[in-house]
């Protein structure tokens, strides 16, 4: 049970990164269906950054490895986010179509980039070494704290980073002027523009930062959860996680703080099939459906309740054309 809860948290933060990134993006009125591709880009960028540092270095420092991987993951993911932002904000393209194009590109790029550029001779051993020793490095003395320690404290650094990011974004949206401005843009960009808020600048900020945060989710899956082992289907798995992250945004009613709990719940649902022993291979396939079925139920229930609090930002999905007023 302890192991199950601990793994649920570890897996849940992957959703949390994606979900918080998407919440930030949606608050600016942009529905980014490119999140699965962007999370993949994060995984590709993180592995690439770690490789660049690890391969020529004799005694790599753990802190530096993690920092460089995080930086590269954010740059790669942010770059695809910037493409999405440029197309939807400046060129006013349809958001759904642009997002899907981002997903197709990002997933393809990751699969290609990991196989042809990153995973050259000897890299996979280095990556799994870094994954086990640097990304999953635990706080010393955790074992002595019993069940509390093994559930909440025995995680790698990315898990805590996810929770910090979620709390910071929650505070930013709720308590700061920038957050208020961003929410105003998501509700009604024309009105926000009229009071002098720089709509375009805020939208770009939200989309690119949101993408960078989501990209950390991909890094977290590869380096933390998988321990640096880059499988051949990693892009497909992250794609599925990405769609669930977008759905999680509705489940958590656009609140990053609630997303912490929601993502841990989804993490538990996602790993359930690999944790139950003594079942056959075909039963595992049925258990794998659980997170997707639960998501559908959540979508149905939230739409039936139809409470005002559970509604998306009013202008979500609509482009803003200033001269069109």
């Amino acid at each position: 049970m302890e192991v199950f809860l601990s793994t649920a948290i570890e897996f849940g933060v992957i959703f949390l990164f994606g979900c918080v990134g998407e919440i930030l993006t949606e608050k600016s009125g942009h529905l980014n269906l490119g999140i699965p591709g962007i999370m993949c880009m994060g995984a590709a960028g993180g592995c690439f950054g770690a490789k660049l540092y690890l391969m020529p270095t004799e005694n790599p420092s753990g802190v530096l490895t993690v920092l460089i991987a995080i930086l590269f993951a954010m740059i790669f993911a942010g770059a695809l986010g910037a493409v999405y932002g440029f197309l939807t904000v400046s060129l006013r393209s349809n958001q759904n179509v642009t997002g899907l194009a981002c997903t197709i590109f990002g997933v393809g790029f990751t699969s290609f980039f990991l196989n042809n550029v990153v995973l050259t001779e000897g890299v996979s051993t280095q990556l799994s070494y870094a994954g086990l020793n640097f990304f999953n490095a635990q706080i010393p003395g955790v074992e002595s704290l019993g069940w509390f320690g093994s559930i909440f404290l025995a995680h790698g650094v990315l898990v805590y980073l996810a929770i910090v990011v979620a709390v910071v974004v929650a505070l930013m949206l709720r308590r700061t002027k920038a957050g208020l401005n961003l929410r105003a843009i998501g509700e009604n960009p024309a009105t926000a523009d009229a009071v002098g808020i720089r709509v375009t600048r805020y939208k770009y900020f939200a989309i690119i930062v949101g993408a960078a945060i989501a990209g950390l989710g991909g890094l977290c899956y590869v380096m933390d959860y998988m321990g640096g082992i880059v499988g051949s289907t990693v892009d497909q798995t992250i794609q599925g996680i990405g769609w669930l992250s977008i759905a999680l945004v509705i489940f958590t009613m656009w609140r990053p703080a609630l997303a912490i709990l929601g993502s841990i719940l989804f993490g538990a649902l996602y790993i359930i099939s690999s944790r139950i022993t003594g079942i056959s291979f075909e039963q595992i396939q049925l258990l794998n459906m659980i997170p997707f079925v639960v998501t559908i139920l959540v979508l149905i229930v939230t739409s039936i309740i139809g409470h005002r609090e559970t509604q998306p930002p009013t202008s979500l999905g609509l482009s803003y054309f200033r001269e069109d007023r």
């Binding site: 197709i104 590109f105 042809n116 009105t191 009071v195």
Partner: protein
């Protein structure tokens, strides 16, 4: 008067653009994307090749042998069918992102019939049962989200996405159930295959191609000439208008999605019954997503979409050859190139629907922009002149009065506005003049006054 800073770039909507010019922009964008990808690939390839070898490989991969041409046509037909299935839903502004799942569940239904009935009943009877089962399964997979959309306004794009994964795991379940000790792969079934219409690859592909031609013609007529097609367009334009006109919106949504899913199921039937004779979890080949791009790039016109899906398949077949020739180990290269083309194509739409003016002259109050990217503004006549110049007349564009006489057309009369045009606002709002004095009252943010769906109708 105080000197006001003029923005450097000023953007206005276009009225219309000559067809040859919009085509030129689109082909230009695709060409640029192709050249960029060619430069990158020939520069980064493990085995060195020239720039033009890339295009040679591309063409030989798609058209090199007779077999390749038939496969290209067959894949085009399949993709076109999926894209047509999605178009009927998109016209209604229903984002059916579940094409993958609907195809896959059609495949599964067909395979189940083949597995349990093949050899026990006459082949012709089994084939009919297979057809009915596949079409029904696809329709069911699409109609579940449609019912919830119609009655509770459930988010259909995420719902259909989740159905994709459920279908995928169902397929995995059945494969594991039938072949418990296997590797997750299924051997081809020999009973109850659809008949080949000839020899070799042509015989395997011809049925699919013929079905696609038939479906294209039917959908074209359905959308263009039938009452149903008109109702779909009205519901897509505005649900309130549709209700006012006496259209039963719920019925239209459900009926359209039955059609959409049934067509996807038909693709599944062809994939398993005629082409592969087995089922696997990635048999949909991501056609649900690619089909969306095909529908979008083809402007929801079935005939243009046929050309687009040929082009996309030409690229992916050709890129497979490029991968082999250039020594790449991953097949995903085609996704990158195709993705790049999507980006350029999506981006170039902006230059078709909007006009960009660069304001290089710093002088305040000058009416004419110093430079216009558009030579057609002379042809466009008075309304577009007014649209282009009015906001530059002394006030910053944010407060400038939009010209009241601009008549806006959708790109194509049949396009639902929110889909065809990037901006969901109706023309009624666009032409209502608003004095600068109104701004302070507007400034109080009416947060959450209008539910998202109705923002357009309220305008």
């Amino acid at each position: 008067m105080e000197r006001v800073k003029e923005p450097l770039i000023h953007i206005t909507r276009r009225d219309s653009m000559p067809l040859w010019k919009s085509l030129l922009i689109r082909f230009g964008a695709i060409l640029v994307a192709l050249v960029i990808s060619a430069i990158f690939i020939s520069a980064s390839a493990p085995s060195s090749h020239g720039f033009f070898d890339y295009f040679a490989s591309l063409f030989s991969g798609a058209f090199g042998t007779e077999r390749r041409i038939w496969i290209l046509l067959q894949n085009t037909a399949l993709l076109l069918c999926v894209a047509l299935a999605l178009v009927v839903a998109f016209k209604m502004r229903f984002w059916n992102l579940g094409g993958n799942g609907q195809v896959l569940i059609g495949c599964l239904a067909c395979a189940v019939c083949m597995y349990y009935l093949g050899g026990k009943l006459p082949d012709a009877l089994v084939c009919i049962i297979m057809f009915v089962a596949s079409v029904a399964a696809g329709a069911v997979w699409a109609v579940i989200p449609a019912v919830f959309k119609a009655f509770f306004n459930t988010n259909e794009s995420l719902f259909t996405l989740m159905m994709n994964y459920i279908a995928m795991y169902l397929v995995a379940f059945f494969i594991a159930f039938w072949y418990p000790n296997g590797t997750g792969a299924m051997p081809p079934l020999t009973d109850a295959n659809l008949p080949a219409l000839g020899d070799g690859q042509m015989g395997r592909s011809l049925l699919t191609i013929l079905v696609a031609v038939l479906v294209t013609a039917l959908i074209f007529c359905y959308l263009r000439f039938s009452k149903h097609g008109y109702e779909i367009a009205v519901v897509g334009e505005s649900q309130n208008t549709a209700r006012y006109a006496g259209i039963n919106v719920r019925k239209v949504i459900i009926r359209t999605l039955v059609l959409s899913g049934a067509l996807c199921g038909l693709v599944g039937f062809l994939l398993v019954g005629s082409i592969n004779h087995m089922v696997s979890t990635n048999m949909d080949d991501n056609m649900g997503f690619t089909g969306i791009m095909v529908a979008w790039m083809g402007k929801f016109n079935p005939l243009i979409m046929a050309g687009v899906s040929l082009f996309i398949n030409f690229l992916s077949r050709g890129m497979a050859q490029v991968c082999t020739d250039f020594g790449f180990t991953s097949e995903a290269l085609s996704d990158i190139v195709v993705g790049l083309i999507y980006f350029f194509f999506i981006g170039c739409e902006f230059f078709i629907s909007y006009k960009v003016h660069f304001n290089f002259s710093k002088q305040k109050g000058r009416a004419a922009p110093a430079f216009s990217m558009d030579a057609a503004s002379e042809k466009g006549g008075a309304p577009s002149e007014a649209a282009g110049h009015a906001p530059a007349g002394g006030e910053p564009p944010a407060e400038g009065q939009p010209p009241a006489d601009v008549v806006r057309h959708s790109f194509d009369g049949a396009l639902p506005e929110g889909l065809g045009m990037p901006n969901g606002k109706s023309s009624a709002e666009a032409v209502s003049p608003r004095a600068a004095g109104d701004v302070p009252e507007e400034a109080q943010l009416p947060v959450g006054t209008a539910p998202g769906e109705n923002a357009k109708e309220e305008a």
